[in-house]
């Protein structure tokens, strides 16, 4: 992977004026965002709805323009270019396939607009259909396809143009879980094969962690953190990231002081915490906290415990059901317990 920059945001802000009976004024959909996306990268914009990730994507595509700031595509300022003059293509959330055209015509649309000769068009449609494993579907209408197949057609329609950047707007949102997981693997494989920069918008943290080279976590129009999946998951820099990406226990103030000796805030992942009986042995380089198990949720592969700490605060603990059954874990409810975790597993957030 080269270190060339594919997309750069320089202090990009997008305001929307809202007129509503409860609220009138300006909403900062994207608020002074600066970021760089490398050439050939699988980059995810992750965040809850309304966090500005989709608006950012739409500004790269050209459907929306920044109120202020600049967007650069391979060093060229594109903020004022219409979509049809940008070398990027989009896979839409609702696929946006043209219902009056066949699959083949849909995929060939970009080439038809560029007036590519018919013979070459047909060749490339066949090639691209092979790439997305839809060989022989060229003559169907979109209405005759399943959700997963439409998804592939949308992908093919974008990829056939060999764009420099491919934008994907929550493309897997409408698929069921099995198909979604299968498409995640497939998308990643296709991305590595074609070597195009993928920018992927999602609100599903697991999806972002599975596929991305790097992730930008969005919250209320701002980027909270940019990093690799491992960095985002293991070293969240803000309470929001810690809470949004996976489940995290945020501990601060007196409770933190009793555990670590300092009031500095920290987060600890539920799966890193060990649940033991209250009179168990204390050993090794560990942090401790005593409490009472208030709630137990059996999830099959895992069990989730909610532990009320002595002196206030709750901690979520997750343990795999390797040796226990649903009967066993339910007995723990209401009992005193001692929680422990390795000191290196906490993530300090500062004050």
């Amino acid at each position: 992977m080269s270190e060339k920059t594919a997309i750069e945001f320089r202090n990009v802000t997008r305001l929307f004026s809202v007129r509503h009976k409860d609220f009138s004024g300006e909403v900062r959909a994207v608020d002074d965002v600066s970021l760089k996306i490398n050439d050939g990268e699988f980059f995810s914009l992750l965040g809850p709805s309304g966090s500005g990730k989709t608006t950012s994507l739409r500004m790269i595509a050209g459907f929306d323009r920044p109120t202020s700031g600049q967007i650069l595509l391979y060093g060229q300022e594109v903020s004022d270019l219409p979509p049809y003059e940008r070398d990027v293509n989009t896979v839409f959330q609702d696929y946006a396939l043209f219902p009056h055209m066949t699959v083949g015509e849909n995929i060939a649309y970009g080439l038809m607009i560029k007036k590519v000769a018919r013979a070459e068009r047909l060749n490339r449609v066949d090639e691209t259909l092979d790439l997305v494993r839809l060989t022989g579907f060229a003559d169907r209408k979109p209405g005759q396809l399943s959700g997963g197949q439409r998804q592939r057609v949308a992908l093919a329609r974008a990829l056939i143009n060999h764009p420099r950047v491919l934008l994907l707007d929550e493309p897997l949102g409408a698929l069921d879980l099995k198909l979604r997981q299968q498409m995640q693997v497939e998308l990643k494989t296709i991305q590595q094969r074609v070597g195009i920069t993928f920018i992927f918008v999602t609100h599903d943290q697991e999806e972002a962690l599975t596929m991305s080279d790097r992730i930008a976590v969005f919250n209320s129009g701002k980027v909270e953190q940019i990093g690799s999946p491992a960095e985002i998951y293991e070293r969240p820099q803000t309470p929001f990231v810690a809470g949004f990406v996976g489940v995290s226990n945020l501990i601060s103030g007196d409770v933190a002081k009793r555990i670590t000796g300092s009031e500095e805030r920290f987060t600890i992942r539920p799966e890193k915490i060990h649940l033991a009986s209250a009179d168990g042995e204390v050993e090794g380089d560990l942090f401790f906290a005593n409490g009472r198990v208030r709630d137990v949720v059996y999830l099959g592969l895992y069990t989730r415990y909610l532990v009320e700490l002595e002196g206030g605060g709750d901690l979520v603990v997750v343990e795999k059901n390797i040796n226990s059954t649903s009967m066993d874990v339910m007995k723990v409810k209401g009992q005193q317990t001692r929680l422990s975790w390795k000191k290196e597993h906490i993530n300090r957030l500062g004050d």
């Binding site: 595509a61 050209g62 459907f63 219409p82 979509p83 049809y84 990027v88 293509n89 989009t90 839409f92 959330q93 609702d94 946006a96 043209f98 219902p99 009056h100 649309y109 970009g110 038809m112 607009i113 560029k114 329609r157 974008a158 143009n161």
Partner: protein
């Protein structure tokens, strides 16, 4: 008791459906199809020219009369007028519908919707007569032309063959203008509905794939809105084909289909010929719909 009735019907959805459909079905069969069949039967009778009585015997004589040059002219004239009115309505309606469907705010859209449909609330005859005043020799149009010193142009236009006449209120131009005015709402509403159903993401996708706005219009928007245009044109075309009031008020002595039917039926009591004449527009509409289907108008339905 009421509960048991509800349960009885709930368990027999087909019976409910039958009961619901019975009244409209009876209406449809008796009033619509029945009168059409009566019409069809009558068109195969003929009029005894000596006694003036209808001869109730099967004959194609009446249909043969339709092919007399003067009657063929009536069909040609009316069809051409209907086609021109439809075309003009489509050209006028599309931009407005497009604006309403894609750009207008909720409030503006409501206003335009009202403005478009408001004329339909008042009597057709009143509106047609008011156009008589607008187009008359001493009417608003000529008054305005005088004001702008354009009366020369108006006089020159009225002197033209076919489209001209003694005044705008007695000319094919007048008929055309009034038809376009009264049928325009029937074109705007279906086109607007069709355009509204085109998802915004399709338009964005087209631009995203490199299409300029004009290319997006021809390749995506127009094909998807076409069923709406066809639906509207069915109204404007068939309404113009059958109308007899506007040509009567604004026309010269030249007949249109509607006027001919009225004359044969009312004045000369030639019911068979009137019936045969009425079969004309039906046939024309069937041909029209077949052409529309060929053009793919119903593909997206």
């Amino acid at each position: 008791m009421l509960n048991r009735i509800s349960t009885y019907f709930y368990l027999r959805p087909r019976l409910v459906l039958a009961l619901l459909l019975l009244p409209p079905l009876i209406w449809f069969l008796v009033v619509y199809i029945g009168s059409l069949i009566t019409l069809l039967i009558n068109s195969f009778f003929s009029l005894d020219s000596f006694t003036g009585q209808v001869v109730r015997e099967f004959t194609l004589k009446t249909y043969a009369k339709l092919f007399e040059p003067s009657n063929l002219q009536i069909f040609g004239r009316t069809t051409l007028m209907a086609a021109l009115v439809t075309l003009a309505c489509a050209l006028l309606a599309f931009p407005l519908s497009y604006y309403m469907a894609r750009f207008a705010s909720r409030r503006v859209k409501t206003f335009l919707y009202l403005a478009v449909t408001l004329p339909l609330w008042s009597s057709y005859v009143v509106r047609v007569y008011s156009w008589k005043l607008i187009l008359a020799q001493e009417g608003i149009v000529s008054w305005f032309a005088n004001l702008l010193h354009l009366d020369g142009i108006l006089a020159w236009y009225l002197a033209l063959p076919v489209v001209g006449g003694p005044s705008l209120s007695i000319s094919y131009t007048g008929i055309f203008l009034v038809f376009v005015y009264i049928w325009l709402p029937y074109m705007i509403i279906p086109i607007q509905t069709a355009l509204e159903r085109v998802p915004k993401s399709l338009i964005e996708a087209s631009g995203d794939l490199g299409a300029k706005p004009s290319q997006t219009f021809w390749n995506v928007i127009l094909p998807l809105a076409f069923p709406g245009v066809i639906a509207g044109s069915i109204f404007t075309f068939s309404l113009t084909l059958g109308d007899f009031i506007v040509p009567q008020l604004f026309g010269s002595s030249a007949y249109t289909i509607g006027r001919a039917v009225l004359a044969f039926q009312g004045t000369s009591n030639n019911i068979p010929l009137a019936a045969a004449f009425t079969m004309g527009p039906i046939l024309i509409m069937i041909v029209y719909l077949l052409i529309a289907r060929r053009l793919g108008a119903f593909d997206a339905l």
